[in-house]
Amino acid sequence: MKDLMADYYKQGAEAKEKGIPVAWVTAVFPVEIIYAAGLFPFYPENFGAVASARKMADKLSSFAEAKGYAHDLCAYARCGLGDAHSKEHPVGEIVKPDLLLCCNTQCGSLSKWFEVAARFYEAPYFLLDAPQIGMEADDLCKKYYTAQLKELIAFLESFTGKKFDYDRLREVMAHANEACRLWNAILETAALKPAPFGFFDACFHMAPIVTWRGMPQAVNYYRTLQEELQNRIQNNVYAIKDERYKLYFDHIPLWPKLRWFSEICASHHALVAVSQYTHSWAYSFDLEHPLESLAENYTEEFVNRVFDYRIQRKMQLMERYNVDGFILFSNRSCKPNAFGLYDKKNIISSITGLPGVVFEADMSDLRFFSEAQVLARLESFFEQLESA
């Protein structure tokens, strides 16, 4: 991931040099439109994740906190705002935006962060607003989102001075379809027992599906990875030694403790096989109706759904991967994914009979992490799992 991301950052710098506008975008934004409009999409969340994995989130956050941002805001936002207010740029300076595009299906943190950043960098900002959807898809929301995509395209046309090219959009969407298909086929290999690939591998390999979705690079990357996995299967190379259990995990990993966490699971012969997080990029676009299809795919994902739908989604994944238990991460940074987990755990356990655990920490910020507490929680969960 390091090389890939270094590459990606280099492209950002190059885009700047060539005068290609850099658009900040969010992970669940219809980036296909950005590529089709000829802009370079930059993912500040990714900047946050990389800073966190390097254990630099606390440091970056301190620059934001000095300006009055509280330490209970999303750590990705604190990394971004911290970098904006720092002179040192301890993980390298974020690529500055020429415009900012945010979709709020994921959370309201992003839309506030981008709004603030737009004022800071004095760049135009567009919010693609997505009301939450219930159990059934919802025509009102789909129409609203589609209408906004048209507003977005008009906004981009006036920004770039170029007419938007719908044929190019279809081309990009076709690449995205193929990348998503490959990505999900790769994720599926975690259902094999024993499996050559698990959640932690997925975290390692997910950058292209997030950032290059719609570009041939992502397709090439996952073709190669798929071949590699075929080889692993043929040669009996597995993700962990002596796999006995499969687990479901919610949601974002504990970036600065990724290895620590994966080793604990591996020591219990448990493979974290699946998570809604890595399964978020499973789009399948209808090229005949590009805008409507973008609207459906982007708003009907679990991130934009109600409590009961999210439970259903988790249970579907648990069933499909035939897991033996589940771990839910009450991630202080990410309220939309954390709130509701206590009840979700009880409900899922009572329906499925699977053992589960909720633990408290922050995906980035080690000030909210107590190794002893998390470990105690996990150990008692593994005891339950092993005695089941």
């Binding site: 009055g68 959370c107 506030k112 962060w113 939450q132 609203y144 507003e151 206590y342």
Partner: protein, 382 residues
């Protein structure tokens, strides 16, 4: 009734809103539909024949919510959920939760599983308000909510009924704005805390009743005339999402402050901006929502919140601005730096303190407010 007695009625309602609701529920033989503060179009609930009831600062300990909601959710939400968990809201026939932030987006599911009510609806507000798509969507969402209320009530909401409710709420807002002006002119007669307690009480009482009490109260206060206030009054603008606990306002008053303006959801954002009575009612409700004063909860293209606050501070001749930040309210926190910068730029003294539902931390907070007020010291320009 004299003015003291009327104020006491409101204070009683603000202190025990649940008793109020149960009383009116019996008396009016109507159902009570709760709502969370405050962007919900109460006019629709009222027109459907229900008593709208603001779930806000109920008695009871926040810890009752802890098995369902992390302690780092804002204390307002914890307070609402804790009351539900303790069965203190069992008189409600339903609830409408406006989705204005991540927490309110996630709350419904938890509430539904822990304490289901017969009628439960999200009100999914558009978070951008400037583009044409927002209006069109909001219209659809209002229609959806209207239908849902109609189904629950078993009868259609007629246009004339909705128009009548709108008119009732407009006159309520108008009366409360008059009361606010009265407080600004003469805080001796009506304190800041009394003003905000009345707003709070109004949200749980039948508006017909509130309006008649307010009219009487205003008459009394007008007759008393403006006694010229002795001593300096420090004119203060207060800003934030939700104002609670109201005892804070006592500290401000004790230090010689008078509240001249605010932008709270349970303050001026609730009172400002009427619903047009010349338009088709749903369109008029759409208008109100997209034209409300800026808030951290909505993307403000045209009217930046910081600009609004600077202008308001100047227009109200405020000596300073006190940001009362409800801890764990993310949107509010994101706005803080920009707001503060703007104040600095225009030379308006400002300070932030953190607040929470469920009691007032003594000591330090009081000292900080006093110190700030002392710094503003100079008092009213005239």
């Amino acid at each position: 009734m004299n003015n003291k007695e009327i104020i006491e009625i409101f204070k009683g309602a603000a202190a025990r809103p649940d008793e109020q609701a149960e009383y009116w529920k019996k008396e009016q033989e109507s159902k009570v539909i709760g709502f969370m503060l405050t962007d919900v179009p109460e006019e629709l609930i009222h027109a459907a024949g229900f008593l709208p009831y603001a779930v806000n600062a109920e008695e009871g300990r926040l810890e009752f919510a802890d098995a369902h909601l992390q302690t780092w959710a804002c204390s307002f939400t914890r307070n609402c959920l804790a009351s539900a968990v303790q069965g203190k809201l069992s008189f409600l026939d339903g609830i409408v939760i406006p989705q204005t932030c991540d927490t309110t987006r996630m709350l419904m599911g938890i509430w539904k599983h822990t304490n289901p009510l017969p009628f439960m609806e999200n009100y999914r507000l558009p978070r951008q308000v400037d583009r044409p798509s927002a209006r069109e969507y909001l219209r659809g969402e209002l229609e959806r909510l209207k239908k849902s209320l109609e189904n629950f009530g078993g009868s259609e909401i007629k246009e004339a009924e909705l128009a009548a409710s709108i008119s009732l709420y407009n006159s309520n807002r108008g009366l409360m704005r008059q009361l606010y002006a009265m407080h600004v002119e003469n805080p001796q007669l009506l304190s800041g805390k009394e003003l905000f307690l009345i707003i709070k009480a109004a949200m749980v009482m039948p508006r017909e009743k509130v309006n008649s009490l307010l009219k009487q109260l205003l008459n009394h206060l007008k007759n008393k005339g403006v006694s010229h206030v002795k001593g300096n009054k420090i004119r203060l603008l207060i800003s934030g999402t939700l104002l609670e606990p109201l005892e804070l306002l006592d500290y401000i008053a004790e230090a010689g402050g008078v509240i001249v303006g605010d932008d709270f959801k349970n303050g001026s954002r609730y009172l400002e901006c009427d619903v047009s009575e010349d338009k088709e009612p749903l369109e008029a409700l759409v208008d109100r929502q997209v034209n409300r004063i800026p808030s951290a909860l909505f993307d403000p293209k045209k009217g930046l919140r910081k600009t609004y606050l600077v202008d308001l501070a100047r227009q109200k001749r405020a000596n300073g601005v006190l940001f009362l930040h409800l801890k764990f309210c993310e949107p509010e926190n994101y706005d803080y730096y920009d707001n503060m910068q703007a104040m600095e730029k225009y030379g308006i003294p400002a300070m932030r303190i953190e607040t929470a539902y469920g009691g007032l931390p003594q000591g330090q907070l009081q000292t900080r407010i006093y110190a700030f007020m002392e710094m503003l010291g100079g008092g009213d320009a005239d």
